[in-house]
Each structure stands twice: as structure tokens, then as C-alpha cells.
């Protein structure tokens, strides 16, 4: 294991990773201060004959300082995280012309409906593929997530995407891949005995290859419906 986050292949992933490593720096600093402090005190003030502990009940200045410092750090982190969160999840952040794909989870598979060449879901060139999620690189994608039975969670580690699929709800999320490649969808919410194998293939195409793939599939879909 190499103690790092997996390869990042999305725009929001870059933001998330930056925040992750920022928190890493802050928490590591705090960790080193506390742990080394504890160990140092254990050594420095270890029991000795004749030593008497200092008789004190506290110090207001010190306590105000170590209340205020974490508070300030947390306020900063809250504001910073909030801005990133808004860029990823707020309704206003959704790009208008994004490619919209419907993902319907059920025990234990992902049914993925593509809008076809006309990029409109619900038209008759739509096509549905089980357990294959194919998207273009460098283009915003909206996934409309649904579930037929129990709660599942749509997780693609390399795209830093995770969202529960809840029965009775349609939950939109969006992301934009920055690199082509093959990944996997995993189910991240316990959904029954097949939870562990509820996976699907993810393929991020380059733009021309994606257009070719969609055109082929749409034509096939139209052929079937006629």
C-alpha cells in the first residue's frame, strides 16, 4: 500500500485532494504537537523522590489561547470547505449544457441509460446498458441517480464521486473527467448479500471516440425501437 489517494481523474477531484492534503498538514501539525508534548511531559516530569507537583488549578490566558486557536482553524476550514462544497454540490454549480445520464441502481447492478446522439433523456434514441458507464473526457456529466429497491451508493474512486442512490428520490450529481482510462464503479452502501460484487466498468473516452460510440449505440437503439 502506498499511503496516497488513488489517481485523480476529475476536476472536483483536484479540489478535494487539495483540501485533503491541507487538512493533512493541519492535523499532522496538531498531532505532532500533542503527541510529542505528552511524551515529553511523561519523561520530563516523571516521578522522582522529593519532587512535588506544581499546585495549580489552571490559567485563564492559556485556556483562552487553546480555545481560540482551534476555533480559528476550524472557522477557516469551514469556510474553505464550504466554498468547495458549493462548487461541487450546490444546485447553481450544475453546468447547463452537461451530458445527462440516468443511473438506476438495483440489487446488485447498475442500469445506465444514455441520452443518445440528441443528448436528451427520454427520447427514442436513448439506450440502456447494464454495468457499463461510459463518459467523455473534459466534458461536464450530470448523473441522475435513482434506486429501485434499497439504498446503494455510486462510488468511482478515481473521479472522487460518491452519492447514495435512494429509492423514491432522483439525486443529481455532476463531475467532469480530466483523464481517459478504465475504472470501476463500486457500491459503497451495504445493500444486501451481493453488495460486495455490485460493481460496473467505467470507461472515460476521448471526445471523438465517445461520439463514435454514442452514434453507433443510438443507431442500434433506433433500429430496435422501429
Amino acid at each position: 500500500m502506498d499511503w496516497s489517494l488513488p489517481l485523480n481523474a476529475s476536476t472536483q477531484g483536484a479540489m478535494i485532494d487539495r483540501l485533503f492534503w491541507l487538512i493533512f498538514a493541519i492535523t499532522m501539525a496538531a498531532l505532532v504537537i500533542v503527541e510529542s508534548g505528552v511524551l515529553w511531559f511523561l519523561w520530563r516530569y516523571r516521578r522522582r523522590e522529593g519532587r512535588r507537583a506544581r499546585y495549580t488549578h489552571g490559567n485563564n490566558v492559556a485556556e483562552v489561547v487553546w480555545t481560540a486557536v482551534p476555533a480559528l482553524v476550524m472557522i477557516f476550514l469551514g469556510i474553505y470547505s464550504g466554498r468547495i462544497w458549493a462548487q461541487i454540490r450546490s444546485p447553481e454549480s450544475f453546468p447547463e449544457d452537461a451530458l445527462t445520464i440516468r443511473v438506476v441502481a438495483k440489487q446488485f447492478e447498475w442500469n445506465i441509460t444514455y441520452p443518445g446522439s440528441d443528448r436528451v433523456l427520454g427520447s427514442n434514441d436513448d439506450f440502456t446498458i447494464r454495468n457499463r458507464f461510459e463518459i467523455p473526457v473534459d466534458e461536464p456529466v450530470v448523473v441522475r441517480l435513482q434506486s429501485e429497491d434499497v439504498i446503494h451508493s455510486f462510488f468511482i474512486p478515481q473521479l472522487r464521486v460518491k452519492q447514495d442512490a435512494v429509492p423514491g428520490m432522483v439525486i443529481p450529481i455532476w463531475f467532469q473527467a480530466t483523464e481517459t482510462g478504465q475504472f470501476q464503479i463500486g457500491c459503497a452502501e451495504l445493500c444486501g448479500l451481493g453488495h460486495y460484487r455490485m460493481r460496473a466498468r467505467v470507461k472515460v473516452h476521448d471526445q471523438p471516440s465517445y461520439r463514435r460510440w454514442v452514434t453507433e449505440r443510438s443507431a442500434a437503439a433506433l433500429g430496435v425501437t422501429d
Partner: protein, 201 residues
């Protein structure tokens, strides 16, 4: 805060007074806080489900028989009155009044439960069940748990009444009467809230 305990006080003789209320009463108040949270869980779920419901919610009186339940509500309020009377009686050392009003409270409480059982039978007879959508589920769960609380109250009330007939409460010591009274009034109050939100709006 430095060394503020360096000076040591001189001795004390009396126990710390706490709330100045006897244990059983504190205990009952504390327990009622827990009961409040239980009914908050049920009523809160009802509110969320009702306002999140996609289909329309039945109007008052459409499914439920509001007049019968209104009378039943009045019956329950009467039992609270007799409970107050019972407590007032023993506050004055009136044993006869205590027994009479405790017994009345238990009987009226039992009457309330009986009317509720009758109401349930009628509803079920007309095909309205806990499985009849969210309306049925929330209705039977909330009123059912309230009815369960009244039933437990009646059983305890009978126990207190029996003790009263044996002269177990005096002018000086009648904690049991006050404590069951607290519970009784609480259950009554919950019903008034339930009646309002389930039957009237």
C-alpha cells in the same frame, strides 16, 4: 482560576439540597422528559411524512369519526380533573375523597381506552388498517402508543387506588399520588396534541 481552592472552607452540616424536590418527583419529571422525546420522535415523523407525502392527505372527518373522539377527549380531560381532585383531597387529609377520586380517575381512564378500542374496531371493520398508506400507519402508531400509555396509567392508578383503600397515603406522605398525577396529566396533554394534529388539522 489560579489556586482558587487554596483557601479551604470550614465544615458543613446539611446535605446538598439538590432541586429541593423529593426523589420520586424528580425521577418522574426526568422520565417524562424521555417520554417527550419518544412522542417527539413519533410526531416529528408524522409531520415529515405528512408534508413530504406526494398524494393528498385525507381531510379531517373523511376517515375518522371526529365527534366520537371529541367526546372521548372530553372524557380524558375529565379524568385529569378527578386526578386533581384526588390530590387536593389528600392535601387536606381527606381519605374518602382520595379513594373516591382515584377510583373515578381509573374508571374514566379505562372508559377512554374502551372507546378507543371501539373506534379501532370500527375503523378496521371499514378496512382502515395500519397498512392503509402513511395515514393509517401514522394514525395507528401514534394513537396506539398513546392508548398503551393510558393503559399502563390505568394499571398503575388501580395499584395506587388499592393502596389508598388500605390507607397507604396520609396528609404528611402522599408522594405516590402526586407522582402518578404527573404521569396522568402528561399523558392527557399528549392526547390533546395528538387529537389536534391527527383529528382536527
Amino acid at each position: 482560576m489560579t489556586s482558587h481552592a487554596a483557601t479551604i472552607e470550614t465544615g458543613v452540616r446539611r446535605p446538598e439540597r439538590g432541586l429541593g424536590v423529593y426523589d420520586k418527583k424528580v425521577g418522574m419529571w426526568v422520565f417524562l422528559c424521555s417520554e417527550v422525546m419518544f412522542f417527539t420522535g413519533l410526531i416529528g415523523s408524522y409531520i415529515i411524512l405528512r408534508f413530504g407525502a406526494s398524494s393528498t392527505w385525507p381531510m379531517p372527518g373523511e376517515v375518522l369519526n371526529v365527534p366520537v373522539t371529541a367526546v372521548n377527549t372530553f372524557i380524558l380531560i375529565c379524568s385529569s380533573m378527578t386526578m386533581v381532585k384526588a390530590f387536593a383531597a389528600i392535601e387536606h387529609g381527606d381519605q374518602r375523597g382520595l379513594r373516591l377520586f382515584l377510583l373515578a380517575t381509573a374508571v374514566i381512564g379505562a372508559l377512554f381506552v374502551s372507546v378507543q378500542v371501539y373506534e379501532y374496531r370500527e375503523l378496521i371493520h371499514h378496512g382502515f388498517l395500519p397498512s392503509s398508506g402513511l395515514y393509517g400507519a401514522t394514525f395507528f402508531t401514534m394513537t396506539g402508543f398513546h392508548g398503551f400509555h393510558v393503559t399502563v396509567g390505568v394499571i398503575c392508578m388501580l395499584w395506587v387506588t388499592a393502596r389508598a383503600f388500605r390507607g397507604g397515603y396520609t396528609l404528611e406522605d402522599h408522594q405516590g399520588v402526586e407522582v402518578i398525577g404527573l404521569y396522568w396529566h402528561f399523558v392527557d396533554l399528549v392526547w390533546i396534541i395528538l387529537f389536534t394534529i391527527v383529528y382536527l388539522i
